[in-house]
Chain length 345, copies 2
Amino acid sequence: MEPVAVAVDAMGGDHAPAVVVKGVMDFLDNGGDTLVHLVGKRREIHREIRRLKAGDRVSGLRVVNARDHISMREQLLSYWRKRESTSIQKALDLVRQGKAAAMFSAGNTGAVMALAKTNLGMIEGIGRPALATLIPTSSGRTLIMDVGANVDSKPRHLVEFALMGKVYMQSVLGVENPRIALMSIGEEEGKGNELIKRTHAILKSMDINFVGNIEGRDAYLGKSDLIVTDGFTGNVTIKVAEGVVDVVMSMLKREIRTSLQSRLGLFLLKRSMKRLRRRLDYAETGGALLLGIKGVVVIGHGRSNAKAVNRAIELSVRMVRERVQERMAAEILCMQSFLEELSYA
Amino acid sequence: MEPVAVAVDAMGGDHAPAVVVKGVMDFLDNGGDTLVHLVGKRREIHREIRRLKAGDRVSGLRVVNARDHISMREQLLSYWRKRESTSIQKALDLVRQGKAAAMFSAGNTGAVMALAKTNLGMIEGIGRPALATLIPTSSGRTLIMDVGANVDSKPRHLVEFALMGKVYMQSVLGVENPRIALMSIGEEEGKGNELIKRTHAILKSMDINFVGNIEGRDAYLGKSDLIVTDGFTGNVTIKVAEGVVDVVMSMLKREIRTSLQSRLGLFLLKRSMKRLRRRLDYAETGGALLLGIKGVVVIGHGRSNAKAVNRAIELSVRMVRERVQERMAAEILCMQSFLEELSYA
């Protein structure tokens, strides 16, 4: 296999650069011939590398200095002037110049999206980038998109999400004919808001495996391989799920604390609960994919730990090797005349 | 206390009339001087009563015959012609005629909403009815509305939800100054779609305890007493939460099955898990409230069991006793000039 180079924003995330450097080091331990460009404040990065006593593992690593960084909640107006010297921009520069094939950041999602779009451009025929993420279901994994790149989407955007998500499921997860569902508040065709009703009609007319509307209750039961939704609803969905898992776990622990008998039960259950927590953990999936961009961009959760960083880099390498972005461009090209008939109104 | 009469649709729900009759009987066991009008196919209702060997408990009960019923998924066009002879309509007749002060149905939500609106009318100043329901949080309960009565809401609708929800939390749950939050995809004021941004600005200007946007993750942490959202997002929220609880529970059981040690743990944990399941169970809250209607209308989950029916009738009696509907009308009247400035555009 050809070596792949990935640009990693060392300064992104709540625990940067420590967990990012650790995640990169862990990745390089099994990273084959991948080259990682670690972009950020050189001195801080080197301090972390020393702390980890990484020694000879540093062979696949190149540290690229970036004077500035964009903080987690910084707005466009605040970072725009300094953007050229930030770690996110410098990582994207490497992709634009062809020195890296993919970029990962656990930093400010809005900034990564905006800068990726301006620097790398969009796949021809795609109106807006979208964030896709895998959710664990009772029978496996389902891709859900958009989970927050867009608000106020139009039917054509959702159709583009369906096409991009389909290619992802086929090429990265090997699902031959992905079942595509539309998130709504009733399974029947007429249920939902205006956006959903209009999108349903279009998806139904397409040559894809459209299985109709899906309700929130069924989203986590693995009844589809891809759930198409607007960014507002998708973001609420994944965050509600996160919150509910936390609440259920803490309630269960509290219930257990009330009886000695159950406390013994908890002790005996600990391993099972830990395994479950891991399955539901965002760190397992590594990150969200920014699809629609000309280039592979993976965005991590702000709370990413070293394992999540490690997984996200793995994911970005897989996306490069499977040529996901090229396949999406080809799929969109095939559908060009169909898409052109759909306006963004 | 004055006696309260409640009209109950015996034919509503997946397991009607059996569970409805059972729920009514259980309620009447402790129902004080409440009178229940049980509306539906007389013969079927009496058969269930006989099966339960209810005997002398039937004193607070009056069976009202209704020749037809509306099935769970029946659409307006299908039930409109027969509506006059259906159990939902006949139950609403009793409220309209003043023979009952509240109505409960676990039947077709859309039909109950449509018929309640045409029969009882709206509180003056309220544009559309809304469905409100209590969700369990780590620290208690939060009211969320709308959870599906409306799609494609406008800012003024959400403002009305905030006012109605506030009155409910004050008068039924005794929360003096309810913390009101707006569901969005970021806590900052500028985050969200157009509807949310515009609604945020209005709520902020009002003399209520508005605590700003809340994210899906925090909705279940009890950070607010009332969550305002449009019916599409609200419906997705409660259904995703339901689905996630089911998946977590089934995954936990599967994890446990894999080791003998944990199987012993499960045995010891059983009581705790059961208690937790109960806390998270929709049956505990009894049902959703249809607010904005001139009259008390409670709608149960289609999957309602006898306990849920029992709780829902309790809830409707409490709403009558606390004069929730009158207080809402008064609150809206106070805000009349403010609301008039907000159009439904």
